[in-house]
Structure formats: structure tokens, C-alpha cells
Amino acid sequence: MKILYKWLPVLAVVLLTACHDEVTNIDPENKINTALVFSTPARMEQAVIGCYNSLQAGNMLQARALVYADVLGEDVINRTSNFGDIPRYTTLSSNAMAAGLWQAGYKAIADANRVIAGIDANRTNTTPEQADMWIAEAKFVRAMAHFYLVNLFAQPYVFTTDASHLGIPIMTQAFYSNDPAANQPRSSVKLVYDQVIKDLTEALPVLPPSYGTSYQSKTRATKAAAAAFLSRVYLYKEDFENAKTYAWDVINKQYGDFGLNTQPSQTYGANNYLTNESIFSIPSKAGDFEAGFTLTAHYTTSTDLYINPDFLNITINPWLAVDDKRRTQLTGNNATLGVPVTLKYRDVADWAPVFRYAEVLLNYAEAAGKLAATVDAEALARLNEVRNRSRVSAAPYTNITINSKQLLIDAVLAERRIELAFEGHRIFDLNRNKMKLTNKRDFDFNTRVADQDFGADKRILPVPLIEIQRSRGVLERNPGY
């Protein structure tokens, strides 16, 4: 027994040290400590892709940011009423969908900021060129998120002469905790656009023209994507000179050889994601999307949204010819439900098109058209390029059929409406052109929703009530909410 007396304390101490560390010093095997994220080039690149991943959120560019733009427009009808107040322009500041979009957008911005700060702090771990390129990609993501947010949550640039009306908070600082500096007031729309342009202008020269694989070239930022984006931003800003310049650079094959597909249907569907016409899209894959938060889910699987027959009615919308390929190839009829539906998104894991060559052409046409005093020939040529791909029996536009600047602009805008239908553009185009929103139908098609004038309060989404509350009043609410 004496043996026990002697050895027991020894045993105890041995046991103590052996087990104590084993049970208290544990690392998760599926996570990496924040401090190690920017330790190797491989991880830095993955972190950059992480920014795109945040942009890919179901509430952002995988679906919702694009869907809300069309739901707020008049070309879709919300058959299942799942978008609630939004298509009825009766949204309240407590709306959960608006809150989800705001949160997803700012998550992408925050991730981009953290990547920029992280790479900047760890430049020695990689080459300067690589570091700059990755930072440029992060800036692209940051610009994307700011741009979509400012156009959904604030009135368009042209709402006031100097765009001094309320925009969204501009975030360029990285946060790792509940930092009070994250509580920023809303900047003016002008400042937001300035930030977007600054990010893109800085990124453009540094971004690569392409990546190792075409998959990556279509899903990550390239020079072409930045240029196409800039042409859109300047167009929305009504800085037509710059819009023309950047669009022209893409058209001129300065950033890569892009062109229109022969048929409009060749741009959509599995196997068609990497065509020459795509400049930048948000990819998807089985297991990588949130069920119910994809374009396919809304337009096909649940058919939450179907085409407003007025859009297809040639009396009301004579611009869309009866035999136009965009009608024959990209619209169809759902026999069970008896409604016309778009055929752009039919595969389960369909990609979301963000920048297409067709849009760049139209950006050019619109910018040039609005800039010139009379009918701009180049603008007309670009317009025809887009239209000729889809028209069958209709005649191409000529100087005679389009003989005034106004007519050209009308034709461009109408073409844009048809070409970019259901791709997340409609309300933005209506808002920036100060157009009245008419012909809006309610869930059951028969009831009409009241017309919305330019600048109507509910043509944009509310700053979420929960964010206003959390900011303790620093964020201002939108008028009417």
C-alpha cells in the first residue's frame, strides 16, 4: 500500500499533463484561422474567389438582385404572389426580401474589403503583379455590389441634377468585428457612382484579359468585364462619352474576341455558358445553389414569374415581331398553367448572365444615339447588329425607317427591353430614362396595379427597418417608407 502512496501523486501529475492539453487544445479540421488566410498565394486566390462566392449568394446575383429588377418592372407577372408587396409597390420597410438583399450585398462588399486589406498586408507572400491583380478582382466585386445596391435602394442618378440625393453607405474599410466605424450614413448617389467608377478604373488596367481556363474567364473579372461594366455605369450616369469609349473598346476586340451567337438560344442553357457572347456570368452547379433562390426556380420550376402577355402582344409591343427569334426560341407556353414563360433558364443549375456582348452593343448604341445631335450612324449599325441576329422577316433599320434621334433612342430602348428581358435590367432602364411605369398587372393578371410615375417612392426598395434600427438612426429611411 505504501507503493500506492508514493506513486499516486506521480501518476496523477503524469496523467494531468498528458490529458489536459489533449482535451483543451483542439483545432477545427474544417476551418482555418483568420490569421492564416493570406499566408500562401493559393489561399489568397481562394479568398479572392470567396468574394465572387459572396456575390453568388442567392439573395444577390445568383438570382434575387436580378429578379427584383424585373419584378419591379412591368414585363413579368408574379403568379404565385411570393414576392408579396414588391410587385404591388406596397412594400413596407420591414420587408424581409429587401433586408436579405441588403445584407447579401454588403456581405460581398465586406468580403472584398477584407481581401484587399489582407493582401495588402501580406504582399511579401506573393509577387507584386499577382497581388495587384487579385486586389483588382476584389475591387471589381466591390463595385458590382455597390452598383446593384445603389440602383435598387436609391433613385437613379438622374433623379436630381447633381445626383445629390441619398444613395447607400460606401464601405471601403475592412472590418473583423462589431466595429463602430461600420456604422456609416448614406452617401449621395453621385459619391457612390464615383466610388464604383474609381474602383473599376483602377482595376481595369491591372485585370488580366483572360484566365487559364475559359470557365474562369467567364466567371472572374477580366478587362472585358470591367470595360463592359464601365460602359453600363457611365450610361446610367448619362456620361455618354465615356460610355461610348468603354463599349467601343470591347466592340473593337481590344479586350478579347467577343461576338454575338448566331441564334439567341445559343446563349442560354447547359453547354452554352462559355460562348463568345458571355463576358461575365455567375456560375452555378448542382449542390452549389440554394433551392428556391435561382433564376430557374423562379422562371421555370415554380413558375413564380411568367411573361406579361402585353409584352408579347404585338399591338401593345409592336417592337417584338411575331417571328422574332427571341419570341420563337426564348418564350414558350406552360400548358399546365396556361401562361407564357421565358425559356432562358430551364436547367437546374443555370448560370446567371450579368454582362453580355449584346448589352455592350446596346450600351454603345444608346450612348452614341443620345450624344449625337441627329441619328448616329454607328449607333444605328450597332442596333442593327443586335436586331439582325433575331429578326426574321422584318426589315433592318435604315436611315429612312429610323429618321430622328428620338426614334433611334426609342428603338434602342425597345430593343434593349426585348434583348435583355428577364436578365435584371427593366426597372433600372425605366428609372434612368424617367419613364412612367404602366401596364402593370397583379398576381391574377386581371387586376391592374396603379401606374407608377418616375420617382415614385416604391419604384425602389426600402432601406431595411432592421438596419435603420441597428444603426441607431444613422441610416436614413427612403421617402414613403
Binding site: V23, T24, P28, A182
Partner: protein, 1050 residues
């Protein structure tokens, strides 16, 4: 009455008798001794006392009723007591046995048999790592130890505890196999949903996995269903801080100590028991039949000015195919339950053993919902040396649960929701026998193209879950010197689970997101090992050994790890081959799951002291290091102190025949909560997918300052045994304050934190309550007896703080708001149905009435008719005082015995709480054409007539929205069991050389008395959560079971 055995003996008495002993009870022992030598003759009564097995009982106290003089039985159970004229009743009482009174006018019976008393105070209390004599405990603990109760066939042993223990609320949630059971010891101990309020469960020293162990979220698995209830000897619940502090760090929500059966010294024993029963539905939901459905739906449409929608299908000749399908009847069938248990045990003073094998099969009254369990157990211990004992306890079990196709009952296509909501005017099969998929003659329905034939989904989808579990512990106990015991025990709990889910392509789940046939599997492992070493020293000192001291010191290391692999396949290629592999599915991949990975290093010490068994004190201290926190925050200190005073040992009460034992006790201590999630304090990134590319994104913002959640509990209680141990009373009053609760503090989106929240120690919760347990034997005589157990507890939770701004936390329909009770319902206030127009009137947050007109979707002031702003989510108000936590709850169990017969009635009750009847709200939804509740026939129809529900109007999504209209006061009295049992008399058995044969019939849940109109007042669709409890959403009724069984023991 056997006259010949009565022995009237005269004997010579020559002794020295204290003079006052014959006069006053209360001064016995206190008097001066006057030596008096008396010689006289007196009559003696002699007899023998045995236990129910015929074994003699030494040390039994025998005395006359209302007389303090007691004699004790000798080693052979014999006694002799002086006959007293006029005294006709003898009282026999002994530790651990029911006190018995015997009338002696006709002479004593040959043998007086005493029955074991399950609720005796004078036995051993198991408190972590040590056991104490109950009379010396100052901690609050209650126990269930009725052998028959714990042997009853049940899916899991936690269900058997309902209503038995004061302060312990076991919420059974529903009649679904594998359903999440929530156990609350003294109310909730946490606020956020990542912190469990379930107590720590320890089986023979092994901390076991409990709660929902399903990895895929479709059907829950109750982890405890892989443990055989028939092997359990007793369950002890440690309620206050002093009792639980020795488990300090995980004991904030109480501790359940389960002890399995062990062999006893003496003759070996082999027991076989079989049970067979019928399982029937507890109740059926009242929904419309086909005829009423057609009229009601079309009425809804007409009121909205729309064309009718509901109609029978048409035959080829244009006539109606009149069909009335009762989908619930199709779902129900007569279920059955069966159990076979064979166990053997025995031992000597050198060793003991217990082994058992068990087969259990439960076929629920709902089709395709079964549980099958096979388990084996071996407990053995041996005194290998004089000073060394070794022991081993282990069990291995395999439980197979066949479930439904989809969980939670909140999805339209879910089980059993789809059976309760599907169109009644649609047929089940086509003429050729295949399933009919379609909407019959009904018009197109809002809500998507979902016409799932519920039976097709039930029979074609699969959700199989298998759990294999090994629980084992091995120990060595040495007594190197007298009084010192050193013990080391290694414990392990290994759970491996396999889940197989298949969604047939022809069912709506199978076409989710456009895929055609989906299969998921999950292979998971939950492993726990714990190793503790303790040294305990017990000593008596003082002149008279009046000081007793027991000191314990020890350490324990625990490690838990759980992960899973989850392969999936989307898009079945050939319906012939549904097994999951890359060849059979268009998309095949695998995800990984990490459930928990943590460890604890604990160091503890405890001291128990008592003076003359009269003044008792205990001190506990435990220091734990939790791997989930960082640096110094890993450490948590959990002290507890308690004291007790056994009044009954004081001279003025020592010989009272009213008060046999009375102890007052008080305690205060700190306990903690260790289930805080997966590495909440670390700032981490994780890999994600961006199409084909791998991305890493921020996963947890982390918080290095995160530390232990702590609960401080003060408890004052009393235990008493009164009236010759005929009545036992235990009462407690407690206040528990839980602070530093880890809550997700909401953060601005612009900071870009995952989930826009940061985990911080900010919450504070207070629970107060009172508990009372009474148990006793109102009637006790030689022929028949009656024992009764009653318990009641009153518990109230209140949230004291949530975060720095006092923001409320929402979950489900509940709210955690400082100043309000936890889980208070937060709903829109429904005022009334306007009798003139049948429109719904709500109150906004300021109390203004607003009436809704579905015809033009407008809101008006009901009095003035002026337009007002619409009611919205911001008008929700916390309805003070309305919570899902019962104010009063408890049970009442009575057993009546007459000779060899026994009747037992068990009641369970709970009052003072509310349930949100979401089932009814969904069944009254006007935006779809699914079947409605018969309550819809009570909707407003005539002007001037008051009604419960607003007028029918197709598409109206406001009037029947989520509001206090669906909140019902629930309170119930449930008859949990009625049992009739017969013990074959010992005389008959002796000839067959059998020890015991018991036959019984039992009805479980036969009656329920409640004012609640919904499924079941205990229904809970949200599982083990703290704030969002109390939502009844399509969870099936609890079953009524009728059982019969036999136990044979040799």
C-alpha cells in the same frame, strides 16, 4: 390468523428500568436513571419479519401504534414485544420498506412481510462520483426508482419520466417515433438556440449523447432511443447547484444520473419478461369531408367574386365521380409494440453480475413509422483482491428507425401534414391500381403545381435511420487504507449512425429544384470518451464518532467529436437502381459535416461533513477548462456550498411519532453550460464552392473574449418523513440566475459579419420556482394498501437582459425581451370579428383597432370607416404572461393493492401556458385550396351574428394571418397509465420453484382532459429550443397504447 404460532409466553423480567420510561415518550432517554429492580411476569408477542422474497429482515423496528417503545428484529428477523392491554395494532417500519400496520386482536400472522418502499428517504443518493446516505444529503435531488415503471416498454427512457419528478418537465412533443424530447429541469437555463437547456445525462458515470442525433435534418432521431429502458435501475435528477456542482461545467440545466441494474449478493436470478401491445391514434384531426369541402371552397371563391374551384372529377359520361377520401384513415393503421427482455444476475460478497438481452419493436399507428431495437448489456464487478475491486459496465445496441419522407410538418408535402391537408374529393388510386397524381376535378390551385399523392410519397420515399451504440465503462477501485478509496474509471460512448433518404422522382420532394429523383445518405460518428480519477477519504472522529467527514478530490478529462460524410445524388438515371453511386445519378457528390469537436479538463474537490447526523454541511469546487474558449477564458470556476439541519435529531423531535425525519437544507452554487456550438470563439475561414472553383470565406467572426455561461442557484428545501414513515414530504424553493449567456448580438450588415451577428456573453435569465412532492401510504394494513405520489411545481422564467441595447430576440413566435418571461408569444393582436360585416379586426401596436376588407384589400377604422395604414409585422406585441412554459405542472400516481392484485393510475397535468395552434391556422388558410378544418364552418356567415372566424374570402391573406387568434390557452390533465397487475402468490410459485410471476394489463394515455382544441396540448414542432417553444404544427397525436405482459423470475 394462525393461533398456534402465537406465542404467549410468560417470562421473568428482571432488569433495571429507568423510572420515567413508562410515563412519557418525549423524555425518553433524558431522564435520570433510578435503578429499580422489578420482577414480574408479562405476556410477549413474538413473530418474524421477512421481505417480499421471504428473506428475513433484521433491524426492523416493531412497536405499538401511538407508542414510542420499539423493539428490533434480530438477525433472523425475529422479534418479541411485550403485550399491552388495549393495544391492538403493531407498526413495523424499516429503512427502505413500506411501513406496515398489523392488527393483533386475533393473533399475529406467521410471518409479516414488508414491501420495498421506492420513495424512502433512508437510502442512498447518487451524486456525481460518490454516493451519500440520503439522510446526510443537503442537495436537492429526486429519483424515479419504481422497477415496473422503468421497465415499461418505451421508445426511450426519457419519456418514462414524465410527471414523476417535481420540477422536471419532459415535453414529449408528438407521437412520432424519434421525436425530439425536450427535458427541462427547473425551467430553461439558456436563451439562444445554440445553447441547449437539456440536462447532462450520465449513465453509470458515462456522459452520453442526448438530443437529436440526426445529421440530415429531415427526421429527428432521439439519441436516447438506442438505450434499453428495461436495464435501468433508477434515474436520479440533480436539481440544485449543490447537487450538480460536482458536474459544474455542464450542469446549468441539471443532471440526470442513470444507474443500470447491478447484481446483488445472494442466489442468482434469471428473469424473462414479455410485453405485447396495440398502438392506436390518440386523436384525429377534424377536417372537412368531400361534400363540405366542395361547398366551402366554392363559397370562398364566390365571396371573392371568382368562379368556383372545387368539384368532383368527371366520369366519361359527364357525371360526377363522387369520391370521399379520408386521408387520415389511410395514414393510420393499428400499430403494435412488442418487447422481450431476458436478464440474469447474481453475485456474492466477492462479485456481482447482471446481464440482459432485449428486443423491442414499436410500430406506430402512423404507417411507415417504426422503431426496432436490439440491445445487450453486461455489468460485472469483482473484488479481485481484498483492497481492489474491478468493474465493467457495457451495452451494445442497434436501433433502426424507419421514418417518413420529410420532416418538420411545415412543408406542404411533409408528413404527416400532407395527409391532413390533401383534397378529400380526389381518389387515391387509378383504376389500374397505380397511384393517382392529380387534382381531380378541382381547378388550378395557387401555391405551385404540387399535387402530391400523400400515400405515394409515404410509400415510395424512404427515410431509414440506423444507430449503433456502444456505451461502456471500466473501473478500478482500490482501498489502500481504511477510509481511503481511490477510483479510476474510463468511460466511452460511441454512436454511429447511418441515414438513408430517397425521394422518388414521382413525388414533389423528388423533383425539388428540378431534379428527378434524389438520394441522400449520411454516415456519422459521435464519439465521447471521459476518464476520471477520484480519491475519497471517509472518516469519523471525535469522542463519540459524532463527526463524520468525507472528502473527495479528483480530475476528469472528456473529449467529444462528431463528424459525418454525406454523399448525395441528384437525378436518378434508371428507376431500377436507386442505390447511391456515381453510375446511377447524373450529379453525384459528397459533403462533410462537423457537428462538434471539443474537450474538457476538470479538477474538482468536495467535502461533506456532518455532526451527529444533525448538522450537515457540504462544499464543492470544480474548475473546468473548455476547449471552445480561448486562453484564460477556457477556465471556469464552479463552487457550491450547502448546509442542512436535521431537526428530527434534535431532542425535542427525536422521539416524536409524528415527525420521524425532518431536515431543512439550503444551498447556493454556480453551474455552467458547455454546449455553446462549434468553435464559437475562433475567428475562422472555411472553404465554399463558387461553381467549379474553391473559395474560402469568413465562417465565424469569433470572439476571443467569449467565456463560460454561468448559472447561480440558491435553493432552500425541506425533507420530512412523517407519521411513522407513512408520509414523505419534500419541498424546495429556488432562484436560478443564468448570466453571461452567449447570444448572437445583431450587427450592422455593413460590417459584413456572417449571419450579421457576433456571439457575445450578454444575456441574463432568471428562473424562480417552488416544488412540492408528497408520497405516502394513506392505507396500510395486512390485506390491502394504497400508496400515493403527488408532485407539483411552479416555475417562472424571466429574461433580464439580452444585449447592451436591450434588443429583443425573436425565434418562431416567441420573444426573449428583457422584463418579459422567456418565450413570451409575440404576435399581432386579433380583436374580434366584426359582427355586421364579418371582417377581421386587429389592434396595432398602439392599441388602435383596424379592420380589414378583403374585397379591396383595405384597412379601415371599424368605427369611423376612415382609411388607416395597414397592420404589419411592426404591430406585433409581446403578450405578457402568455408563454409556452407551464406555470404549474406535475403528476399524481396512485397504486392500490389488495392481496396479490395491484391497480395503478398515473396522472400528469400542466396548467398556465399557451400553445400557438399553427395547425389550425394553416387549415384555415384562404390562399390555397388544400383541405380545411371543420372549424371553418364556424366562420362568419350572417350579418349581425357574432362568429369566431372572419368571413370566407378566397385569396385573403390578412384576416387569417399569424395572430393571437390562433393562440390558445392550454392546460391538461392526462391519464398516463392505468395498470392492473397480478402477482402470483408465493405459495403457488414455491412448488414450481419460481421466484416471481407477474402479469399485467395496461392502458397508456387512455384519456386526456383539456381545453385546447388542437392536436395535443403538449405538441411542440420546434424541438429543443428555448424561445420558440409552443408551436403546434401538424405533429401527430401521441398514441394510446394497450399493453399486456408477463414477467417470470426464477
Amino acid at each position: 390468523m394462525n393461533r398456534t404460532s402465537t406465542q404467549w409466553v410468560k417470562r421473568l423480567i428482571s432488569c433495571t428500568i429507568p423510572l420515567l420510561s413508562l410515563t412519557s415518550l418525549t423524555t425518553f432517554g433524558n431522564s435520570t436513571v433510578v435503578p429499580v429492580h422489578i420482577v414480574f411476569y408479562e405476556d410477549l408477542l413474538k413473530g418474524k419479519v421477512t421481505d417480499e422474497n421471504g428473506q428475513p429482515l433484521p433491524g426492523v423496528s416493531v412497536r405499538y401504534k401511538h407508542n414510542g417503545n420499539a423493539v428490533q428484529t434480530d438477525a433472523e428477523g425475529r422479534f418479541s414485544i411485550v403485550a399491552q392491554p388495549g393495544k391492538t395494532t403493531l407498526v413495523f417500519s424499516f429503512i427502505g420498506y413500506k411501513t406496515r400496520e398489523v392488527t393483533i386482536t386475533g393473533g399475529l400472522p406467521a410471518e409479516i412481510t414488508l414491501q420495498t418502499d421506492p420513495t424512502s428517504l433512508h437510502d442512498v443518493v447518487v451524486l456525481g462520483y460518490q454516493s451519500l446516505d440520503r439522510k446526510n444529503t443537503t442537495q436537492a435531488a429526486v429519483r424515479v426508482r419504481h422497477n415496473e415503471e422503468l421497465r415499461a416498454p418505451a421508445n426511450s427512457f426519457d419519456q418514462l419520466m414524465t410527471g414523476h419528478l417535481a420540477g422536471v418537465n419532459v415535453i414529449n412533443s408528438s407521437g412520432l417515433v424519434g421525436e425530439r424530447v425536450a427535458i427541462r429541469v427547473r425551467g430553461a437555463s439558456s436563451i439562444s438556440s445554440s445553447s441547449s437547456s437539456n440536462p447532462l445525462i450520465v449513465i453509470d458515470g458515462v456522459p452520453v449523447l442526448s438530443g437529436n442525433s440526426a445529421t440530415l435534418s429531415y427526421n429527428p432521431i432521439n439519441a436516447l432511443s438506442s438505450i434499453n429502458p428495461a436495464d435501468i435501475e433508477s434515474i436520479q435528477v440533480l436539481k440544485d447547484a449543490a447537487a450538480a456542482a460536482i458536474y459544474g461545467s455542464r450542469a446549468a440545466a441539471g443532471v440526470l444520473l442513470v444507474t443500470t441494474k447491478k447484481g446483488k449478493a445472494g442466489a442468482g436470478n434469471i428473469t424473462y419478461s414479455a410485453d405485447l401491445g396495440l398502438v392506436k391514434p390518440g386523436n384525429k384531426l377534424d377536417v372537412l369531408n368531400a361534400e363540405s369541402y366542395n361547398t366551402t371552397i366554392n363559397q370562398m371563391r364566390t365571396n371573392a367574386g371568382l368562379a368556383p374551384l372545387a368539384a368532383y372529377e368527371q366520369n366519361t359520361d359527364g357525371s360526377d365521380k363522387v369520391v370521399d377520401t379520408d386521408w387520415q384513415d389511410i395514414l393510420f393503421h393499428d400499430g403494435g409494440v412488442q418487447q422481450h427482455q431476458l436478464s440474469f444476475s447474481g453475485g456474492s460478497d466477492k462479485y456481482n453480475y447482471y446481464g440482459s438481452g432485449n428486443y423491442y419493436n414499436y410500430d406506430n399507428y402512423l404507417r411507415n413509422n417504426t422503431l426496432q431495437r436490439i440491445s445487450g448489456r453486461l455489468n460485472a464487478s469483482a473484488k479481485v483482491k481484498e483492497w481492489l475491486t474491478a468493474g465493467l459496465n457495457m451495452q451494445y445496441s442497434r436501433a433502426k428507425q424507419l421514418g417518413f419522407g420529410r420532416d418538420a410538418g411545415t412543408n406542404v408535402n411533409a408528413m404527416p401534414r400532407s395527409f391532413m391537408t390533401y383534397f378529400p374529393n380526389v381518389r387515391v388510386y387509378n383504376d389500374d391500381g397505380s397511384y393517382y397524381h392529380g387534382r381531380g376535378g378541382n381547378g388550378g390551385v395557387i401555391g405551385g403545381a404540387n399535387y402530391p399523392n400523400p400515400l405515394a410519397t409515404l410509400e415510395q420515399n424512404r427515410d431509414d435511420q440506423e444507430t449503433r451504440r456502444f456505451i461502456g465503462s471500466m473501473y478500478l477501485e482500490a482501498t489502500p487504507v481504511k477510509g481511503l478509496t481511490v477510483k479510476s474509471q474510463f468511460n466511452t460512448d460511441l454512436v454511429s449512425g447511418t441515414e438513408t433518404v430517397f425521394w422518388h422522382p414521382r413525388t414533389p420532394d423528388g423533383t425539388t429544384a428540378g431534379f428527378n429523383g434524389i438520394s441522400f445518405n449520411a454516415y456519422s460518428n459521435f464519439n465521447t470518451w471521459a476518464w476520471y480519477t477520484t480519491a475519497q477519504y471517509k472518516t469519523l472522529f471525535g469522542a463519540d464518532n459524532e463527526h463524520s467527514l468525507s472528502v473527495l478530490a479528483g480530475m476528469e478529462f472528456t473529449r467529444r467529436r462528431a463528424k459525418s460524410v454525406q454523399p448525395y445524388g441528384y437525378g436518378l438515371k434508371d428507376p431500377q437502381f436507386t442505390y447511391l453511386s456515381v453510375e446511377n445519378y447524373t450529379t453525384f457528390g459528397s459533403a462533410a459535416g462537423f457537428m462538434f469537436n471539443d474537450g474538457l479538463a476538470s479538477y474538482f474537490a468536495s467535502a461533506n461533513y456532518s455532526y451527529k447526523d444533525k448538522y450537515i454541511a457540504a462544499l464543492n469546487l470544480r474548475a473546468d477548462y473548455n476547449s471552445n474558449f480561448i486562453g484564460n477564458n477556457q477556465r471556469g470556476l464552479f463552487p457550491a456550498v450547502s448546509a442542512g439541519w436535521r431537526l428530527s435529531e434534535e431532542d425535542f423531535l427525536k422521539h416524536s411519532y409524528v415527525v420521524n425525519d425532518l431536515k431543512l437544507r439550503a444551498s447556493y452554487g454556480l453551474t455552467g453550460n458547455a454546449s455553446v456550438g462549434y468553435f464559437p470563439a475562433l475567428a475562422t475561414y472555411q472553404t465554399y464552392q463558387y461553381g467549379d472553383l474553391t473559395a474560402i470565406n469568413i465562417s465565424t467572426a469569433g470572439n476571443a473574449a467569449l467565456k463560460w455561461e454561468k448559472s447561480g442557484q440558491a435553493n432552500i428545501g425541506a425533507d420530512a418523513s412523517l407519521l411513522s414513515n407513512r408520509l414523505h414530504v419534500t419541498t424546495d424553493w429556488f432562484v436560478k440566475t443564468s448570466k453571461d449567456l452567449i447570444l448572437q448580438s445583431p450587427v450592422l450588415s455593413t460590417a459584413g459579419m456572417p449571419n450579421n451577428s457576433l456571439a457575445q456573453n450578454i444575456g441574463k435569465l432568471r428562473t424562480t420556482g417552488t416544488e412540492l412532492s408528497l408520497s405516502g401510504s394513506p392505507v396500510l394494513n395486512s390485506k390491502w394498501w394504497w400508496t400515493s405520489d403527488f408532485n407539483i411545481s411552479y416555475i417562472k422564467n424571466k429574461v433580464l437582459a439580452t444585449n447592451a441595447n436591450g434588443d429583443p430576440l425573436f425565434e418562431g413566435m416567441g420573444i426573449a425581451k428583457p422584463g418579459e418571461e422567456l418565450g413570451t408569444f409575440n404576435l399581432l393582436r386579433f380583436k374580434e370579428v366584426d359582427a355586421a360585416t364579418g371582417r377581421a379586426v386587429f389592434l396595432d401596436k398602439d392599441g388602435n383597432a383596424k379592420m380589414y376588407n378583403p374585397a379591396n384589400a383595405s384597412w379601415t377604422n371599424p368605427e369611423t370607416g376612415q382609411a388607416v395604414t395597414a397592420i404589419s409585422g411592426t404591430d406585433k406585441v409581446a403578450l405578457s404572461g402568455k408563454t409556452p412554459y407551464p406555470k404549474f405542472q406535475g403528476g399524481f400516481f396512485n397504486t392500490l393493492g389488495y392481496g396479490d392484485w395491484e391497480v395503478r393510475v398515473g396522472l400528469q397535468y400542466a396548467f398556465g401556458y399557451y400553445v400557438y395552434n399553427q395547425t389550425l391556422a394553416s387549415l384555415m388558410d384562404q390562399t390555397n385550396a388544400y383541405n380545411k378544418s371543420t372549424e371553418i364552418l364556424e366562420a362568419w356567415s350572417k350579418s349581425g351574428q357574432p362568429a369566431e372566424y372572419p368571413a370566407l374570402y378566397w385569396g385573403d391573406n390578412q384576416s387569417m394571418q399569424e395572430s393571437s387568434l390562433w393562440l390558445e390557452k392550454a392546460g391538461f390533465l392526462r391519464v398516463r397509465e392505468i395498470t392492473l397487475a397480478y402477482n402470483v402468490p408465493a405459495t403457488l410459485l414455491k412448488r414450481a420453484k419460481m421466484d416471481r410471476v407477474r402479469v399485467y394489463v395496461q392502458a397508456q394515455n387512455p384519456f386526456l382532459f383539456t381545453s385546447y382544441k388542437g392536436m395535443d396540448p403538449e405538441a411542440n414542432a420546434t424541438g429543443n429550443t428555448n424561445i420558440g417553444l409552443g408551436i403546434d404544427s401538424f405533429r401527430p397525436f401521441m398514441a394510446k397504447t394497450f399493453m399486456a405482459g408477463i414477467t417470470i423470475s426464477l
